[in-house]
Symmetry: C2
Subunit: 528 residues, 2 copies
């Protein structure tokens, strides 16, 4: 039996995964290049790749192909790059699919990120591109113990805001108290020595801020009724609700789970570009902007003997044709489904079948940052079971005069409802529900800009959704090249709705093309 | 019986608390002024207040007195303002009490905060001064789930770093699993209906990331062995340690408690001035810098018939005298204890008796930010049971080339040991212990600057410590003016070691003086 060479192994991996690069880095076989987002070797001349879509997958594919000597052309339906990287600023226009039209009236310098807004600290592909392209990053404080929870219509504590720290520390207190009691009563069959049990109980006391009798009776961790200060003000704790009241007030329901604190993707530290997520797009545009044909709506994707042929309608409504050796298609599947294409049946089925989630956001500009001035809230997110779901506070620009809140950010059926409202009714909903949490809304509000991703023309959805079953069928169909056509975008990754998914899928597409070109060159040379 | 007027009430409060202002704001009787740090009414002319110490208490006292028309003079022993607000930068010199001398060799633009470094989001006095003086704030991410824990010499998991997310999520998993089990077995006498119990268990499953059988078997929240990515890389979870292993490895001991996550003072969001804590000092210096006499070492604090008389030695070693109507003394008690003063016996006893804590920090400059590039650590703190106690990562300047870590930040006996080392041995300790967590230390290290607050000449300690008993004796003695002498500084507050304590105590001193002056004017007018 032949011993596997390193190259054989790469090839095997590549067959299995679509690209050897990420997998080999992941498996520790080749070192990740810390300063560079991607590093492939070998120059190629005379090859043309047509890239469909100037979102992050398309932009980064062009950028990497350029390093390797390929020619590339990006066909983009919009008049701007970035796709769902979209920072809403003064003067921006958008007409939704059913005709709702907006022009952004924010003050100069004010913005919110309509799509991607935060970067997990372990999404190295994104961070490495920022390092490589010189895009400064700052903290995005996804979590803020001082932000509010507001539960409507459930029980005794409903219909009033509480600070997140109150619920978090009360629940830590009650759960550790109950567990300490169970252990003390030997109610649990635990394989621990008495000494270890003692250590565990000491930990529970510290974790829950229990008193020496192992009871939770409140804690300064949940804040004060009167804060401690100078002179003779030691501070006064507020009374605490009992566990039953907490449960009956709806506070243990999914709207208020600590999901963002805990999930790998939303744990601290999260990052965001200084000055808006579009800084990443702009950095790529500086490098590959000349390759982009804007306002070019793709109508046909064809396989030819020599590669791919693309037909698009240009901004003067004329049909144009492009041919290339390969195509990287990053078009969102709901949009792609309406484009005539020579896809193989499995691919076409995936393109036609993968459902996309809805998602809505609204940016609300206020005269002053009352959430900072009056409520001591600097960044983070307030959460509620109302349709607005959450209010996201800006993570920077602190102490400045004006500011923009994301007045809602919702998904699924809630977003379907929200997206079906008129622009005026969306604003009304955001203000009415939001003012239950922040009564200052009504006095301080200036203007808004809202969007429903399912109604944004060249997106038609917020992100792809797969089940474990469709990961084995539709998803797999998109991983292999369909002749000369490679698929990229976060929907071709396990990092759905994250920028890292776009970048890593683009890297795999580029690596796949490059490997094929190099192998074909080798076999041609061998045949000479 | 006479009905209490508002003014009577203020006077009563003032007698009880030293100042009515903060107490009345705290009790909701007067609105806090959001845009202003403090707001007192009434102009005063011809009164001179001598302020001892140009730390935050002294600077802000002068600033507030100035608004009210008072003349003030700040006597400062050092050649710089700020006290324990001290940002270490290139060229700074320091000679510790026993003669150890340093000149900072950091690169231009690199710095670390030797003293105060972070601002709780609810410390409105600090934040309001930043707003009022135009000092921009940014996030200080005190917490980072991606930072490390390193436990030395305890058990099977010792002597290797783990990500904080691993321990946090494993413990959430095990505690919720055990509690769910106890509830299922009806081992706890809980006054809950079955429906409420069900809700509680659903919460425990979500909180702990338990499987449908209510068992903790790991979770993506603790990170991956192979991270999910594009293509066919769904991600692979690592195996998890059992609870016994966690306990026996020392992970439940106090070094690793979630104290900073949970305490009111260190919860997210925390803030810090853009560009270093000294930006606050500089902003005050711009307003009241001309009132400061530098390198002026106070030798006598005297009460006179008309107020206070201060003797100091100026930079030319000559004795100088200053007289004023009042004195605000912010000198740290260990330093004040060696100054001749006409204090009343209770005050002198407090000055001589209140112990101060030790604290040491070292700044380590590295050639590159390997903690970002190699470890994906952006801000936050790694913790260990070694003497270095913690490594603090810079919360900004991400992706830039060089960086400074706080290589240790310790207190109490550990800091006593650390401070007793030579400068070279401190550096050696920081590098040897730190490189167990970050092996890159040895290759990337450039230079260091260390300090032991207990050996810094005009501080002689990091912060005052009180017991509940001494809060009733020594502390109370410092709250009342001793004739014309008022005390301020964080040691005259329940916000020890926080800048808010300095500001609020200074505000109380100013309010106390102002009230006295206005009352005296009223009674003089009444006597006419």
């Amino acid at each position: 039996m032949k011993h596997l060479t390193r190259r054989d192994f790469i090839n095997k991996l590549t067959i299995a995964t679509g690209s050897g690069y990420t997998a080999m880095v992941a498996l520790g076989m080749i070192p990740a290049s810390p300063a560079k987002a991607m590093k492939l070797e070998g120059k190629v001349e005379g090859k043309h790749v047509i890239i469909l879509g100037a979102g992050l997958a398309g932009l980064s594919a062009a950028y990497e192909l350029d390093k390797l000597g390929y020619k590339s052309t990006i066909v983009e339906a919009r008049s701007r790059p970035g796709g769902r990287i979209w920072t809403i600023r003064k003067g921006m226009r958008e007409t939704e699919l059913e005709g709702a039209e907006q022009i952004c009236k924010f003050e100069e310098g004010q913005y919110f990120n309509a799509g991607a807004t935060r970067i997990p600290h372990h999404h190295t592909s994104v961070i490495n591109y920022c390092r490589e392209l010189g895009v400064p990053l700052e903290n995005f404080n996804n979590i803020n113990e001082g932000a509010y929870y507001y539960c409507e219509g459930k029980g005794p504590l409903s219909n009033k805001r509480i600070r997140q720290r109150e619920l978090h520390n009360d629940m830590r207190g009650y759960t550790t108290e109950l567990l300490a009691k169970a252990i003390d009563q030997n109610a649990l069959d635990m394989p621990l020595t008495n000494e270890d049990k003692e250590k565990f109980i000491e930990y529970l006391i510290a974790e829950g801020s229990l008193n020496p009798n192992k009871l939770y009776q409140g804690s300064s961790r949940r804040g004060y009724e009167v804060a401690p200060g100078a002179g003779n003000i030691p501070g006064k704790l507020a009374s605490i609700p009992d566990l039953l009241t907490v449960i009956q007030s709806g506070w243990l329901e999914p709207h208020f789970y600590n999901i963002p604190e805990y999930t790998y993707e939303q744990q601290t530290t999260m990052l965001t570009p200084v000055g808006g997520m579009d800084q990443i797009t702009k950095a790529f545009e500086k490098r590959v902007g000349k390759k982009i044909i804007y306002e070019a709506e793709v109508t046909e994707i064809r396989k030819t003997e020599r590669g791919a042929r693309i037909v698009y309608i240009n901004k003067d409504k004329q049909a144009q044709e492009l041919t290339g050796d390969f195509c990287i298609c990053t078009i969102p599947l709901p949009v792609l489904s309406n484009i005539a294409a020579d896809f193989s049946p499995n691919v076409q089925r995936a393109v036609d079948s993968v459902p996309y989630n809805n998602s809505c956001k609204i940016g609300l500009q206020f005269k002053r940052r009352f959430w900072e001035e009056d409520d001591n809230i600097y960044g983070g997110i307030s959460r509620t079971n109302m349709d607005i779901t959450q209010i996201v506070y800006p993570p920077s620009g602190y102490l400045s005069k004006k500011g923009i809140l994301v007045g809602y950010y919702n998904y699924g059926r809630t977003a379907e409802r929200t997206g079906n409202l008129s622009l005026a009714d969306r604003e009304k909903m955001a203000l009415e529900q939001g003012s239950k949490i922040h009564p200052q809304y009504k006095q301080e509000f200036e203007n808004s800009f809202s969007l429903a991703w399912q109604k944004i023309k060249y997106s038609q959805g917020a992100w792809a959704t797969f089940t474990p079953e469709t990961r084995q069928t539709h998803y797999k169909a998109l991983l292999e090249p369909d002749g000369p056509i490679y698929f990229a975008g976060d929907h071709v990754s396990y990092l759905i709705a994250w920028m890292a998914g776009s970048f890593e899928s683009a890297q795999q597409a580029v690596a796949g093309i490059h490997k094929r070109v190099k192998e074909s060159a080798t076999s041609m040379n061998a045949g000479k």
